[in-house]
């Protein structure tokens, strides 16, 4: 996932409005991918729980006898990002509420409008 500056399609055209920082690389070394697959296989064989974002249950993996639970880059939206760091997705300008509604909702951005639906009280 590219960093914020690469989410701005006309970043280059408008002369950046700033500096040119180092890019965050999209992919790490290719060997890491095959290493991940191997470790997934060994985890499956050891009957330990597999954690990945494929959402394939452990039982199905074993029954299928295939590498369907293998950790692949396409399963992890953050694959290739540097480790030991947190990443919040970059917001784009879109889906803007009309002003009166925005005040009621607590934001002008529909995409940041996340109501609370817990029990008790009024929503």
């Amino acid at each position: 996932m590219p960093n914020y500056r690469y989410n701005m399609p006309d970043y280059e055209r408008r002369n950046n409005c700033g500096n040119h920082p180092h890019a965050v690389p999209r992919r790490q070394h290719p060997q890491e991918y095959s290493t991940a697959r191997e470790s997934c296989a060994s985890v499956l064989n050891s009957h330990e729980p597999v954690r990945n974002s494929c959402e394939v249950p452990h039982r199905e993996c074993r029954d299928a006898g295939e590498m369907s639970c293998a950790v692949s880059e396409s399963c992890d939206a953050l694959a290739g990002m540097p480790l030991a760091m947190a990443y919040v997705p970059w917001q784009m300008w879109r889906k803007i509420y009309e002003a009166e509604k925005a005040l009621c909702q607590g934001t002008i951005f529909e995409e940041l409008d996340k109501p609370f639906r817990g029990t008790g009280g009024v929503c």
């Binding site: 950046n16 409005c17 917001q91 300008w93 002003a99 009166e100 925005a102 005040l103 002008i108």
Partner: protein, 90 residues
Amino acid sequence: MSDNRPCRKDLMNKINAVSFAVDDVKLFLDTHPCDEEALEYFNEFQQLRRSALKEYARYYGPLTIDTVDADECDRWNWINEPWPWQEGGC
């Protein structure tokens, strides 16, 4: 004061709405300083806010120090009630 003056509550609601739009787009622009659509949106609502504040001050007294007109009154009206946390305040 004539009866043609705008409704105080309506004017305050308008100020709240346009000011909130400025508040939220301001934060967006802090992290997206080059976003042209956001800049345009800011300019539009900043204008609306300025004229609404001026209109409110004219009929109901100033909400900001910049809209105080000490020439208009013979006393300092900045301290007039209601304050924001009082009934009738906003």
